[in-house]
Amino acid sequence: MADFYYDTAHLLGALVLLTSFGLLYQRRLFALLNVFATQAFVLAAAAAWQAFIHGEPHLYITALLALSLKAIVIPVALHRIILRLEIPRAVDSALGVGMTMVIGVSLVTLSILLVMGVTSGAAALTREDLASALSVVLLGLLMMITRRNAVSQVIGFMSLENGLILAAIGVEGMPLVVEMSVAFAVMVAFIVFGIFFFHIRERFDTLDLQNLETFRGEREERPWS
């Protein structure tokens, strides 16, 4: 039965990673939000499952937080923001989707190689989860880099943070405090970004960061490529 426990834990971890690829693949903001909600939901399931097999009840709180906040509240809030601010619903990507995916797979390979090297003595379970978590973090970063739109950057940041939580729940005996603080950090970031949205909107009437850069003279205006 232990095999089944571990296999399910692996599966959930990898599903989080898969949804990260889903985020990279999506081209529409609402679909992006849905995929993000799915990711948070799977993360919650992973946390709950870890809580169950290791008998660590505090992980249920993490699960609940992930479920309520990230799977429901934030997506709904962002959904409303997009509607209210009339943000263009297409994800403006700085790099082709295909290229992004190729880079994504390379990043996953890199993190696997990295984790393999560092944790050669650890159990297969920890290694696999760590590899998934590191990949999710890297993919979140990648998403923040390649997307021009502020909303998708926020989502990239939160998926990065999901990766951190995935790493935290994978390690036995991680104290709750850390997770809470991490979760709060995200909240703070979310609020900051939220204010930022409105700020930019007032000034420039758009949420496209490219305009900000043009305004600051960092780059030449160029047609959409």
């Binding site: 082709g96 295909g98 290229m99 390979t109 696997i112 190689l113 393999m116």
Partner: protein, 672 residues
């Protein structure tokens, strides 16, 4: 056999005798090679008392040489047949620009002699001499028929890359000889292959030598990024010479690589293979992507050669990895795949080039967009070309699939290795190889569909006629061999066994496995098996049954009518998909990001009667980043060397004196 090189060059006088005699001689050598392989004979050596002063020339034929002799000379036979047929057609029809073929007739035997020489050489001097002979004669062949600017440019690029390759080979062999030490630790300085074999170099010099040899042979074979000359030079030559260059000469380069890595350097390292894997994979994918973009059928074929070389390099890299890690059964599997692919590619690439030559002879066109509908006008050519196209796309039950199947079996074993880099690298290589295979299918559907199917896109294509019997024969022979190898691959695989035994210490079936003639089933391949014979038998049987049942019980009536085309009226042949439109989706998916491909559409404003213009710009990154610097370097060296011609006697003397002193210093230093 040793005298063949000398003999071959004699047949230059009479018109048909040149080709006919060469063909007979090639046939004899090929037969002897088969006998050598099948008979499991010990290597035959010969020492000729000619060569550099105080040195002799070593010649030797072992199983590896015999196999490549077979490849070269079968190609030689068909090329001579095609050349003879083409000359006859030129005499009877008299098409312009092809009148004077005498230089080609003279040079082809020399070219073949050069290639044979490389294969039987057993010392560095003979090897390099034959290699240069091969390069120069093929370079002259490129220049022989057309002297327009594009051909001259192609020849120039070829010359630059060929000299680069030879320099690399020289340096590589020099590294091997210079660092060879005998059992007693004494400096050997033996230039024969036997001496290099006995040399047992340390890892570092061996790696440097391996790298240099890879650059030298790779530039000849068309390895990316050293491929730039190949798609220019191969198509510029007459078609049967293109076939020899693409189908055969690249294999001679592969021979050089295999000879050095598996035979001369006794200590292959696994990371050599690991470094070669991405090279091979990139070569395969880029080669075929470029082939897909070509509008000139011969350039398309030349780029497809680049792809096939990539596949062979992948197999060789796997064989290096497996051999160095001591898994000789798998090394045998990978090397068998490589060698079988060498044989297969030489067959179908020759066939495809002859077919392109036949189309060129019949229509005067190489541009895909001026062809079409030739299946009605040239039934035999179009049928054998179909076999070649299907074989090169690795479709069962033809020969291309067998070698691809073996490659995949070798790749499937990769993850069982210890090294993480190899596990992941081999998995990625597998994906890229599969991608290249898929792209090859698209490439040859495009090539065949646009050349032979549909409706003619030009008057020349509409009035084409079938070519001469000899030209047809030159295509039918490789086509028949392709089918035969596909259906009963074990015949050739059994010929490869002595080679793999000599190179990696084990034959394909030495570890057990079913070795009947019906199944390809290497023990090392997880116990998987494949049978082309049963497959084709079942397909043929079921097709006949299906046809009979339908005709007997359903309906056998058939009516000819105008094409339906979704109810549109006849839009004329120009409404067909062209070469450019066929590959447009693939270009959009792959090329826009990889190479700066840019297509621009200029639409006239409404009311304007000017036609809309479409133009496409493609750049080969290898050209900008690699070839141009090499060209400049070679040019600078040539300029410096040129100075030597215009020096005074005093300057010459001081140069010689300087060289002498330098030599003495070297001797003094090494002796102390």
């Amino acid at each position: 056999m040793a005298a063949s090189g000398v003999l071959l060059s004699r047949f230059t006088g009479l018109r048909d005798l040149a080709y006919g005699g060469t063909a007979v001689l090639c046939l004899a050598i090929a037969a002897a090679a088969v006998a050598h392989l099948a008979g499991n004979v010990a290597p035959v050596s010969l020492v000729l008392p000619v060569g550099l002063p105080g040195a002799v020339t070593h010649l030797r034929v072992d199983s590896l040489s015999a196999l490549f002799l077979l490849v070269v000379n079968v190609g030689g036979v068909t090329a001579c047949l095609f050349g003879m047929g083409h000359d006859r057609m030129a005499r009877s029809v008299g098409f312009a620009g092809h009148a004077d073929r005498a230089p080609v007739r003279t040079l082809v035997p020399l070219f073949l002699a050069g290639m044979n020489g490389v294969l039987i050489a057993d010392d560095v001097f003979a090897f390099l001499l034959s290699w240069e002979f091969m390069s120069v004669s093929s370079w002259l062949l490129v220049l022989s028929t057309h002297r327009d600017a594009a051909t001259r440019r192609a020849a120039h690029v070829y010359l630059v890359m060929a000299s680069f390759g030879t320099v690399m080979l020289m340096l590589g062999f020099a590294t091997l000889i210079g660092t060879a030490h005998g059992a007693s630790g004494a400096f050997l300085g033996d230039y024969s292959f036997a001496g290099i074999r006995a040399g047992s170099p340390a890892v570092l010099p061996a790696t440097i030598a391996m790298l240099l040899i890879l650059l030298g042979t790779g530039s000849k074979a068309g390895m990316v990024p050293l491929h730039v000359w190949l798609p220019l030079a191969h198509p510029a030559a007459p078609s049967h010479v293109s076939a020899l260059m693409s189908g055969v000469m690249t294999k001679v380069a592969i021979y050089g690589l295999v000879r050095v890595v598996f035979d001369l350097i006794a200590i292959p390292q696994w990371w050599w293979g690991a470094a070669m894997l991405p090279l091979g994979a990139v070569t395969a994918v880029l080669g075929i992507l470029y082939a897909l973009m070509q509008h000139d059928i011969k350039r398309l074929l030349a780029y497809s050669t680049v792809e096939n070389i990539g596949v062979i390099l992948i197999d060789i890299a796997l064989a290096i990895v497996f051999k160095s890690l001591g898994v000789s059964a798998l090394a045998a599997l990978a090397l068998t795949a490589a060698l079988l692919h060498v044989v297969n590619h030489s067959l179908y690439k020759s066939l495809l080039f002859y077919g392109a030559g036949a189309v060129l002879a019949a229509t005067g066109q190489r541009d895909l967009d001026a062809l079409g509908g030739l299946i009605h006008r040239m039934p035999i050519t179009s049928f054998v070309w179909l076999i070649g196209a299907a074989a090169i796309s690795s479709l069962p039950p033809l020969n291309g699939f067998v070698s691809e199947w073996l490659s995949f079996q070798a790749i499937l074993n990769g993850p069982l290795l210890e090294q993480w880099e190899l596990k992941i690298g081999i998995a990625v290589t597998g994906a890229l190889l599969a991608l290249a295979t898929g792209l090859a299918g698209a490439c040859f559907v495009r090539a065949y569909g646009i050349t032979f199917l549909g409706r003619p896109r030009s008057n020349a294509a509409a009035q084409a006629g079938e070519v001469t019997a000899l030209m047809k024969a030159s295509m039918i022979i490789p086509a028949a061999l392709s089918v035969a190898i596909g259906v009963v691959p074990t015949l050739v695989i059994s010929l490869l066994e002595p080679v793999t035994r000599a190179m990696v210490g084990e034959g394909l079936y030495d570890g057990g496995g079913r070795s009947g003639w019906l199944w390809v089933s290497p023990a090392s391949a997880f116990g998987n098996s494949y049978s082309g014979f049963i497959m084709i038998a079942v397909i043929a049987l079921m097709s006949v049954v299906a046809a009979l049942v339908l005709h007997r019980y359903a309906s056998a009536r058939l009516r000819r009518a105008a094409a339906w085309d979704c109810g549109f009226g006849d839009a004329g042949p120009t409404a067909q998909y062209s070469a450019g439109s066929f590959s447009q989706p693939i270009r959009r998916i792959f090329l826009n990001q990889v190479f700066s491909a840019r297509d621009t559409v200029v639409m006239p404003p409404p009311g304007d009667t000017a036609p809309a213009r479409f133009s496409l710009e493609l750049r080969d990154p290898a050209w900008d980043w690699l070839f141009t610097p090499i060209e400049q370097l070679m040019g600078r060296i040539a300029d410096r060397a040129n100075l030597l011609q215009f020096m005074t006697i005093r300057q010459y003397l001081s140069l010689m004196f300087g060289a002498l002193v330098l030599l003495l210093v070297v001797v003094a230093v090494t002796q102390s």
